[in-house]
Subunit: 765 residues, 2 copies
């Protein structure tokens, strides 16, 4: 197996899911509409905070084609959903806490009836005072989002401390201070949340959901509705995007509720784009106050950072996101004295939830901007200060964890510095067209892999030899589009010595696949891939053993799997897999194996409060170089150059790595320059794709991706997770580049044309 | 796991199958009679050799209650069965070759109709010249058992050579020569061969058979009848004994044939005791000519041995049995020059087949008797000569294989010499009652384990966690009564940290169990036990991993299986297996693992001809002390004392070891003193239990069993196979003891009262 670690998949082969997706043949949850399927929709609050004073569904029920209208009174169980903290109602009974809160569920025969039914639900609210700013929410007199809750609007608070940051800052030669902010962001998955459900007469609830966590969903549904999780089956076909927006319940509990009340019927719910903006989770808007201190020679001495996250009205993973943000707030740098404080506040804004980058996007923007300020104060080039302080393997991170061996962040920075986009930057800037100015920025990034200590980051992989002698792998972690399923097929084919065409892939199904956690946290290919390779090795050993019987070979280890069979190099004899398979009982044609991501063995006491998920052991590093061109007349900023260098272990398929990096960078660029929900009183003003602008391919350059030679011995074929690391760079790199170009020192995102124009006007009197 | 190796099962616990067997509740194949089941029986030749000149089934078909009568013409496929060489007809068409050969198969509604139908089958033969002595069979003018066969009556021939035996013998100070003979023997299993079959409308053939090799039976049936082996399912419930007599087809092909012709009906065949004597396999009668040479100081220098086995008319495993006998013909001694020649001859006697000891019983009797002769010639005590030449670990055996580390045969001899039965022997002999004489004999024995090189000695074990949180182990190697199933339950319970009551055992079923070879060759607990322990380790790892999810433990290795659940010693938390099992899909509740017995890595060229099954790597050693009392007036010999010392690896359950050793010794004592088929013209005159005498408990002493401290690192929990080693000693030890008692130097078995009386008369003139 070790010899295989240098192979990688054939570089020319497109990923196995490419053709079906390109041809529109791939079926997503949204494509499934069984005959006789009913449609479900949600009546939403439409106000940020209020008491329900009247909810009359009689008119809605009377609409022809409306099958039922359900309210809080119809919900069995706790009516509470949430991944860790369960504080989000399936249907609101007395109080609504944000514009998207659900008050009634309408099930109808068709779209028109559903729309008419939803319109006919009569609901009246008594408006309550609302709070929209997380810092204001924490002030003593702020309206309470959950009045009965101890602790008021402070959902979570935590401290990570190493050394004595305050004393060290006092002793620093230079200290910079700044307040940085990043906005809420919508995932804008191509496929909005949707799913189907049916309660069989046996009492089994079957669902097909566009979800990142089918195994966990069962428990969330069961808890919310008082069901037995063992009787819930969830399938997760390929997702048309997820990015965290499908990590946690969207349609799940609502659909399950409808199915419970209409047994035997298939019921479908598919959110529109607008409903997704209104009701879907968002990246947490955050404000970060940083003080960063160094010696005169540039050596970082101390950082103090206070992060405040806008959780919206429900917990979702806010505490965990805050925690990961805090863990990254010191950047990939060597800093002896650290104090990072985090808080999450309830507000009446949209619900904050998981999003690629998971708190790190916010932390990274802040610390990288602070590094730029510090460099400026020290009269140093930004890249030079970063290189000087770059965390090296074996050194202790800001939160006290020893960095693992491997290619480090300095190598990533150096690779960017050696790149033509960097070495040729002065000439490129000089060549700016008339009425434009160009600038270049280079930042360092990092992203942890996995759930962190205390939460077993576990995957189980099942592999089947079919009776026909081909293989079927049961992917237990949803493929949101990131290509994990294709990677698994390629890995299994390689490990089993078979062509990829001999390996079919079953998408997650809790009834057929063993559990493997969620598709999230840059863990998917690492954790499941390890489990899968173990299952492949078990399968290969099994096949060598069974073939040994047919080949009369009493040293099975000498046999090798070759396409379609098992061969004995000593004798040249061969037995086809189809023949072997014919003699094996089904149980003997299946191999299941598992893997748990190793954790930090002696965790530092820097984050004592955090029992679960802190700290992380493995980090992927990178550097991001952005070249921007600002239009002096309109303030429009174009991202013209973008380079990502990464150390993400071995590269299994270069195209796969490039696709993930480029996609993440595009999403980071959206956050940097384009995307703005325009919240006003808790309402999203830019609630559709005509107003909420995401970068299209026309808005972006070709993104150069340069994975460095690296190897993670604990990873499958040496890889590390790298689905998130690419998103962090564009924000701070574009900001640095804009300072280079026009002297704008942005402390918040997005940097819109208005901001640039104002800065230009101010800076060019 | 290594820490468990010293534990052993609780010594006080009876084996799990004891109670049901003692109460008559255990169901054997013979106990299964589905409603509407038909009965099948065989019309047998009744002459040793002849041509069928007329076979008329019309009268039999006309018998009321007879459903069908089948003959050779009804057999599809090759009509040939046999484990390696396929030369035995399912039904004879033209020629019969021994008294028990089958000529017609009658299927009837009930016993009486079956008997009447069998009586009404009209068959006439033209008698052919027959041959009953294997040496005569090899003479040029002997009648041919298979006239069309190249090679005449010589079924198999082989040579094992090391050094130059002839030259060495010529240079020896002392050479003894002798001709030794051992008789045919019937297994006399409590449950005679029997089974059931039914062909389902789907084309699947389901059988329940009292068989030692259900997995292999499928291929034998398929080959003989032209069927697809994948469509044959065989279950093997507990056997009421086997001893080799159920290794190879007995009822299988006949039942399958009947089922093919009567689709949809269950058909049962159960041989009577008399039919089993007539048609069942027998231990090969053998004649061995030995010349054994030594230096004057007793150092063995050379052995030349020619073994001739009576195969009867069909091959069965004769060649393989000859091979194993040859491999053991030098005894557990250090002999530099060796020439062992083996031959198997076809005769018209009953069919020779597998029997506990498998060729070694014969070889051991011959070489041990020759050692006695040599000791006498050298004026040495028999035990002293054996000790001097005893093979030590690392030394090269007679056939050139290095002895494995472990407790050696010298230790076994020394343990016997230290036993009160030995140290008190003179007083005991002096105390012989009037008209009796007493003597004591002590011999050394050995028995190889497993199939030998070239034939993968492979087992696969399947273990299931039930939904209720208990375990189910799928035993794939039939339990003939030797207690392997009970040992497996005990091993699994120990490995999984559960009480034995939490482990149920499914008996072999080719549709539910993966393959694991035959119940034979002292391999069962060693090979399957290893596979099972691997499966248990896989299961334990799985359960620790799954439990880690429930216990939020990211270092699953620290979890431990405790009765009924998985515990975290670090936190004291516990999750019941019943809860875990509820969340696992069925595939994830099953673990399958396998094992292949290691083989000699650089085999010597001493047995070049033998491609399969030579040489063996692991041997179990022992010594056997017998004290006999001969009645001067009647010649009756009583075995009064019997001690077995063995080196068989670690002892897992002492009772299990003792049961196997005592049972084997009893069977060896039967061969030594009682059992005689009284063949006459190929006919067994002692063909029932009133004439064929096996020792009962009244005929035998308590047998003392003394397993020595030993450890086989490759074995499950350190064990080696020991189901056969106990059978070898009584034959030569009783002979030596009789020489001690009355001066009778027996060269053949059994030593009946007639022989003893004749010797007494001759020796006491």
């Amino acid at each position: 197996m070790d010899a295989d670690r240098d192979k990688g998949a054939s570089p020319g082969a497109p990923r196995v899911d490419a053709l079906d997706k390109a041809c529109g043949r791939q079926r997503y949850a949204a494509d499934e509409t069984p005959p006789g399927c009913l449609l479900a929709g949600v009546k939403r609050a439409g106000i940020p905070h209020g008491r329900i004073v009247r909810l009359d569904t009689a008119a809605a029920r009377a609409v022809p084609g409306v099958v039922t209208v359900l309210t809080r009174a119809d919900v069995p169980g706790t009516n509470r959903q949430g991944i860790v903290h369960k504080d989000q109602p399936v249907l609101c009974g007395q109080r609504v806490r944000h514009h998207g809160d659900p008050v009634a569920l309408v099930v109808a025969e068709n779209k028109d009836a559903l729309a008419a039914g939803l319109a006919a639900v009569e609901v009246a609210f008594e408006a309550l005072p609302a709070v929209f700013d997380p810092e204001e929410a924490l002030s003593p007199n702020a309206p309470l989002v959950h009045p009965d809750r101890e602790g008021g609007n402070l959902l979570a608070h935590g401290l990570m401390e190493k050394g004595d940051a305050e004393s060290a800052l006092a002793g620093c030669d230079v200290v910079v201070a700044g307040r940085f902010a990043t906005p809420a962001q919508d995932h804008v998955s191509l496929e909005p949340p949707n799913g189907l459900a049916r309660l069989a007469p046996s009492g089994r609830l079957t669902m097909v959901v566009s979800t990142q966590a089918p195994f966990r969903d069962r428990f969330e549904i069961a808890q919310a509705l008082g069901l037995d999780p063992q009787r819930i089956r969830i399938r997760a076909p390929y997702l048309g995007g997820g990015f965290g927006g499908k990590d946690g319940a969207t349609v799940q509990c609502l659909l399950a509720l409808a199915a419970l009340r209409l047994p035997g019927r298939w019921i479908k719910m598919a959110w529109s784009r607008e409903e997704t903006f209104l009701a879907g989770y968002k990246r947490h808007a955050a404000v970060m106050d940083i003080r960063l201190g160094a010696r005169a020679d540039g050596t970082l001495e101390a950082i103090a950072c206070a992060m405040c996250f806008d959780a919206g009205p429900y917990a979702h993973l806010s505490g965990e996101i805050m925690e990961l943000g805090m863990e990254h707030a010191g950047g990939p740098y060597r800093i002896p004295h650290v104090r990072i404080e985090g808080s999450c506040a309830y507000t009446n804004n949209p619900v904050g939830g998981a999003f690629r980058g998971f708190g790190v996007v916010q932390a990274c923007f802040a610390v990288e901007r602070a590094m730029d300020m510090l460099a400026r104060r020290l009269g140093r080039a930004p890249e030079s200060l970063r290189l000087q302080n770059a965390l090296r393997p074996g050194e202790t991170s800001a939160v006290g964890v020893a960095a693992e061996p491997g290619t480090d962040v300095a190598a990533c920075l150096n690779a960017a510095l050696a790149h033509p986009l960097w070495t040729g930057r002065e000439a490129w800037k000089q060549a700016a067209p008339a009425f434009t100015r160009r600038g270049v920025g280079l930042v360092a990034v990092q992203n942890a892999m996995g759930y962190g200590r205390g939460l077993p980051d576990h995957a189980t992989a099942k592999l089947e030899l079919t009776r026909q002698g081909t293989f079927r792998l049961y992917n237990s972690v949803p493929d949101m589009g990131q290509g994990n399923a294709a990677a698994f097929v390629a890995m299994a084919a390689q490990a089993l010595g078979q062509p990829e065409a001999a390996v079919a892939c079953v998408q997650p199904d809790t009834a057929a696949c063993p559990p493997a956690g969620s598709s999230s946290a840059s863990r998917t290919v690492y954790t499941f891939g390890n489990a899968l390779l173990r299952a492949c090795r078990t399968m290969a050993e099994k096949l060598r053993n069974r073939a040994a019987l047919a080949l009369l070979c009493d040293t099975p280890d000498r046999l090798v799997l070759t396409p379609g069979g098992v061969s004995d190099p000593a004798t040249g004899r061969f037995v086809p897999l189809s023949v072997l398979a014919g003699f094996l009982i089904r149980d003997d044609r299946i191999c299941i194996d598992q893997f748990v991501m190793p954790v930090v063995e002696n965790p530092p006491d820097t984050g004592r409060e955090f029992k679960l998920g802190f700290p992380h052991r493995y980090f992927t590093y990178g550097a991001c170089l952005c070249g921007v061109e600002a239009d002096e007349l309109t303030g429009r900023v174009r991202l013209v150059q973008c380079l990502l260098t990464v150390a993400c272990g071995k590269v299994f398929t270069l195209a796969g790595v490039e696709q993930q990096l480029a996609g993440a960078a595009a999403q980071g660029a959206g956050l940097a320059l384009f995307e703005e929900l325009a919240l006003e009183g808790g309402r999203i003003r830019a609630g559709d794709l005509s107003t909420y602008l995401i970068p299209t391919s026309l808005d972006l350059p070709d993104i150069d991706c340069l994975p460095l030679p690296d190897d993670e011995p604990s990873g499958p074929l040496g890889i590390k997770g790298m689905g998130e690391v690419g998103i962090h760079g564009p924000g701070p790199a574009v900001a640095q580049a804009l300072f280079d170009a026009v002297g704008l020192d942005a402390a918040s995102l997005p940097i819109t044309p208005e901001v640039v124009l104002a800065a230009l006007e101010e800076l060019t009197p």
